[in-house]
């Protein structure tokens, strides 16, 4: 099949979502659901737009999308509750 290219190197929106950056680095962010108050501060800061406060039956709390989390630690550094910990991915635990 012939390669399709968009006129003048234009692109449709949000193609980057296909690129899972969750495998970058060695760390991931983990949210302590008990401590998290769902204040959304982490949402405002996450450079990879991959932490989101979601409503659950019992409470709302932040959820990390590990497809994209690069493990930078920004969310953990700004969390007023200390509810986010940076930990090695399973793969790197010896």
């Amino acid at each position: 099949m012939k390669l399709k290219i968009y006129l003048g190197a234009s692109c449709p929106p949000l193609q980057s979502l296909e690129y899972k950056t969750g495998d970058w680095g060695t760390m991931h962010a983990f949210v302590d659901k008990e401590k998290c108050t769902g204040c959304k501060i982490c949402e405002q800061y996450c450079p990879d737009l991959c932490i989101e406060v979601k409503e659950f039956e019992d409470k709302k709390h932040a959820v990390v999308d590990y497809n994209y989390c690069k493990g930078c630690g920004v969310c953990a550094s700004v969390c007023p509750q200390g509810a986010i910990k940076m930990e090695l991915k399973e793969l790197f635990k010896v």
Binding site: L3, I5, L7, G8, A9, S10, C11, P12, P13
Partner: protein, 391 residues
């Protein structure tokens, strides 16, 4: 309606009828009065749904056109010389982004030394940009070229910038009778611009993305293919123009005396003078014909091969130099005729920086070629013998 107007006005009037949404202006001699004339029309409310922007430089002007064209607008600017090469980074970019920007270049020499006078060196800098170039002979042809430029550039088979090249001073400042177009004629010929892709919040796209080696080359090949398609689109639109306006400027090239043994090849306003020269020389019994190259990009290789296959001697008058080689028009022509012609080439570089090219001077050169007094090769003509010294 026929009126005696200057070259500037012939262009400005035609631009107005093409109804551009955005016009950018930055002054440079000998272009300035084109944008001044448009400014006057703007000030008088004659340009509807149009924004006239005074840019901070030609670089800015071209960049404004890129933004406006990407947003789906029909755009116009005019420039030349230093202004054109200041625009050049943007124009290469616009071609790659496939934006159908139309500009008029009032051909002028490049510095140094600074010269405001006419030659074709500025156009040649943009030769490899992916921009179509049409050289006109007189102000009526310049007037007629603008609507055609938009129609060709905006054709979805093409989508590349278009530059109408008219000789600075020789045409821009000349008063000539010009049959000024009526709005209805242009309206019927040139439909409103329907961009294939454009910036809108209704359907977001990203334009001007960078390409990794795995993709870059395809986009450049696509530009070449668009240029190749432009050849037939242009021929079709040139013909269509002849029908609607009643003025037939010919195709990519115009051949006079097709069976001649000697051919003179040139572009721009010089062609007008050469026509007279050629006719006079024919009366002397010299079998000379004339080729006017209108479309310089895409280069009309096939047409030139056909027209020159039986020529014995080819005389090229270049108005610019590729330093370290020879005149660009001559280079292109030789390349086009490789294996298609056994003619001797007489490549002359003339009229740089507005140097006069009187009729007798041109006739003398061609006569010498015909009589065998000139050897085939490359030469500058019309300069004084000199010695370079230190002040």
């Amino acid at each position: 309606m026929k009126k005696v107007v200057r070259g500037f006005y012939a262009v400005a009037h035609s631009v107005k009828l093409c109804k551009p949404h955005v016009i950018c202006a930055y002054p440079i001699t000998p272009q300035t009065e084109i944008v001044e004339n448009l400014a006057e029309m703007y000030a008088n409310g004659e340009l509807k749904n149009c924004e006239y922007i005074t840019a901070e430089s030609e670089f800015g002007a071209a960049s404004i056109l890129v933004g406006a064209s990407a947003a789906g607008a029909r755009v116009f600017s005019a420039t030349c010389s230093q202004g054109l090469i200041l625009m050049s980074e943007v124009l290469f970019n616009a071609a790659g982004m496939r934006l159908p920007i139309v500009i008029v270049n009032t051909n002028r020499a490049l510095s140094a030394p600074l010269s405001i006078w006419n030659d074709h060196q500025d156009s040649m800098v943009l030769r490899d940009a992916g921009i179509m170039q049409l050289f006109v002979e007189n102000n009526q042809e310049a007037h007629d070229a603008v609507p055609q430029a938009y129609k060709i550039a905006e054709d979805k088979r093409v989508l590349l910038p278009f530059m109408v090249c008219m000789d600075g001073f020789k045409l821009t400042h000349a008063y000539e009778p010009v049959d000024l177009l009526e709005e209805e004629v242009v309206d019927a010929f040139l439909p409103p611009y329907q961009p294939q892709i454009y910036l809108t919040t209704k359907k977001p796209v990203a334009m001007g993305c960078y390409a990794l080696p795995a993709y870059y080359m395809e986009f450049r090949v696509a530009m070449q293919q668009a240029m190749e398609r432009a050849k037939s689109v242009m021929e079709k639109i040139y013909k269509e123009w002849a029908e609607v306006s009643g003025r037939d400027w010919g195709g990519h090239i115009v051949v006079e005396y097709p069976d001649a043994k000697i051919f003179v090849v040139a572009m721009g306003s010089l062609v007008g003078l050469l026509r007279k020269v050629v006719n006079d020389l024919r009366k002397e019994g010299i079998d000379v014909g004339l080729i006017k190259i209108r479309t310089f990009r895409p280069f009309p290789v096939e047409n030139l091969r056909k027209a020159l296959s039986n020529a014995e001697k080819i005389v090229v008058f270049d108005r610019s130099v590729s330093f370290g080689y020879e005149g660009p028009l001559s280079i292109e022509l030789k390349s086009a005729l490789y294996k298609y012609s056994s003619a001797d080439f007489y490549s002359y570089i003339v009229g740089l920086g507005g140097r006069d090219m009187p009729k007798d001077f041109l006739a003398g050169i061609i006569r010498d070629v015909a009589n065998g007094k000139e050897k085939p090769g490359v030469a500058f003509k019309g300069y004084k013998e000199f010695e370079e010294v230190i002040p």
